[in-house]
Subunit: 453 residues, 2 copies
Amino acid sequence: MKQYKILLEEQEIPTHWYNIVADMANKPLPPLHPGTKEPIGPDALAPLFPMELIKQEVTADKWVEIPEQVREVYKLWRPTPMYRAWRLEAALDTPAKIYYKYEGVSPSGSHKPNTAVPQAWYNKEEGVKRITTETGAGQWGSALSFACNLFGIECEVYMVKISYQQKPYRKVLMNTWGAKVYASPTDLTEAGRKILAENPDSPGSLGIAISEAVEKAATDPNTKYALGSVLNHVLMHQTVIGQEAIKQMEKAGDLPDIVVAPFGGGSNFAGISFPFLRLNLEEGKNIRCIASEPASCPKLTKGVFRYDFGDTVGMTPLLPMYTLGHNFVPAPIHAGGLRYHGAGVIVSQLLKDKLIEARAHDQLECFEAGLTFAKAEGIVPAPETTHAIATAIQEANKCKEEGTAKTILIHLCGHGYFDLAAYENYLSGNMKRHELTDEEIQHAIARIDTPEI
Amino acid sequence: MKQYKILLEEQEIPTHWYNIVADMANKPLPPLHPGTKEPIGPDALAPLFPMELIKQEVTADKWVEIPEQVREVYKLWRPTPMYRAWRLEAALDTPAKIYYKYEGVSPSGSHKPNTAVPQAWYNKEEGVKRITTETGAGQWGSALSFACNLFGIECEVYMVKISYQQKPYRKVLMNTWGAKVYASPTDLTEAGRKILAENPDSPGSLGIAISEAVEKAATDPNTKYALGSVLNHVLMHQTVIGQEAIKQMEKAGDLPDIVVAPFGGGSNFAGISFPFLRLNLEEGKNIRCIASEPASCPKLTKGVFRYDFGDTVGMTPLLPMYTLGHNFVPAPIHAGGLRYHGAGVIVSQLLKDKLIEARAHDQLECFEAGLTFAKAEGIVPAPETTHAIATAIQEANKCKEEGTAKTILIHLCGHGYFDLAAYENYLSGNMKRHELTDEEIQHAIARIDTPEI
């Protein structure tokens, strides 16, 4: 009899996060001060983050224990289910075995609470009253709203204006959990006012919203800042996903040949792939991990590896990353969570060292893949998530051509039930391609004014 | 260590549906022909339903086997999780033990696919090409769209116009699974044209939409009709919920004193409560089962028990039910799925025989309960579902007053992620009370022109 779901018990929630830096031969380069361009130490982050998270950001420890209070909250939705995608395999008529790990069962509908909860917890422990953040598609903002509510911390979200307009219900969800939400750029910060002076109709971007949230935290002693991706500690918190997935694949008596995940700043990709990369590094396994990004924002496949700011205005430290430039404003594709100019430091180093792969897809191809998935498996995936499905379908089709039966694991990092306006756009035939031309990419890269590596 | 989730394996999905009629001392009265007012046999239903479902509608068998193909589809989301609501208990500071069975994990986000899948399956088996149906909030329409897509059947949904306008994304969800959706009343049917002639601005109602869907099926030999609640076979399909819940309560080493579920036509209430009522009837247990209905549509608490039509126009057989009259048009509350004038036949008989209880709540009280739940447990419940939570909170508060530690099981039959406009309405302070006055109820009942019992 076919088994569809591979489940774990609550006791099997991981007890530690996995820090891949400990296993990397080439360690990531240090961040630089935005003004002096000199390497900075952990203290430089103190205005923005609680000390425990700064420690995690720079730790060399391979395993970091998950606090009991965080594990208690994880139990509201973890361990998440893994599925064998029998119906998708049949729809594709492929010999490939396809699995997916589904993070959409969390209260906010994505993997983001995995880091929102510990971030809120450490802030609470250190007496912080208010956390600011940015959000694009709204997945991170809702996750942090959910987490702050549980620990009684105020939450203030700067939401990219185009997403604020396209996804009004994401805002309501954040309000339901008690958060304040602003459409960014706002006139509440210097950074926002500067952007609005240049372009009053700015649709906003993650980079701009980060500038606003960071400024608010840096100028208010009771307020700290939280980031939903890119940083080392954020990626590390997500490794609960891959650790569970390894146990689930073991239960299924299988091991993936290929792990695919969508790529925005790196958190969901890291979450599922780093524990599998550990098997490559430690045990000599040869699991291919592929990051799927939008063709309209192809920093991994077409960007350059150099120091760049995490935000648009240039307030954050300079980070060594694959980037299209902090001034690059991606086209308003529906996968708002992937509209970010740069890639997290660890993932960038892994890509440079060819330990992972990357692939870009246009949104039309992604929504076609999303619809195929929804019709086969029932679940409607988030626009971000469809990128991984597009890659998986390519690989499954290749298996069919070659007559090989590879095992493919998809990170189904979120559902699309807040994103149905995007599906409407696709179904109505009005969705546009947003693939960047080589000229546009060269133009973006030529504008970058930050230090080369 | 606290356990939150009580999970079952796929092999524990029930193999049979439970037919409570077999255990009832007072059997439900027969349906009557809408014209002759004489009792009708199964054949009268043949234009609308496949024969296997008609057999299930009238069967005296206590257990009906679930086809293997239906159980295979159930595995996409069943068994559903049960949770111990530790955080809600703490928020209410109650000695009560609160559990909830969560059906929102289904692809369409509610319990409705439990019957949509077998209905689509039996239609497919009997060669039906197209199924029509009505939907209010959209939960049933999306469930049937999902199910029809899996078996390659066309699906045509008449959606109550006010919901169509309030919940555009529900329509997109149905389109995503390939269904056609019309705002009812339409000019595609006699029934719809009649209503529009009387009131061109009619907001529609479930009763009107049923008239339209039934007419379409009755006048097209390739088309059958499917109902998402009220009928015996529909209620029976939902008993997988309660059967799983009993196993899960056993695993938790507990048994509920009180089971609460929202009430529209009866399907989700029946789904969770009938298997527990079996324990009352067979083993002399004393589990109280409470149906929670809107104060704006209080057929169980304020209606009359008599024969009435299932639809507004009067095309369906006359059914013995608690009703406010088939002409009653409920206020446009956000819990669209509970805006129905009558109660299913079996549930009506059980209420008449005092084997179950009923309670009404205004929507303001319900949304307050929903918000309390969302803040404590994370999950944002559907507006329909908040009615059960309102009852559960009353009972938990009573436990606190009395110092008793009763066990309360809530049927969390769906999530509210498609209903955030309703939460926005509540959070903004603009939501209105819609409690019916005694005069309005007497007026509605005085208008009923169908046979008394």
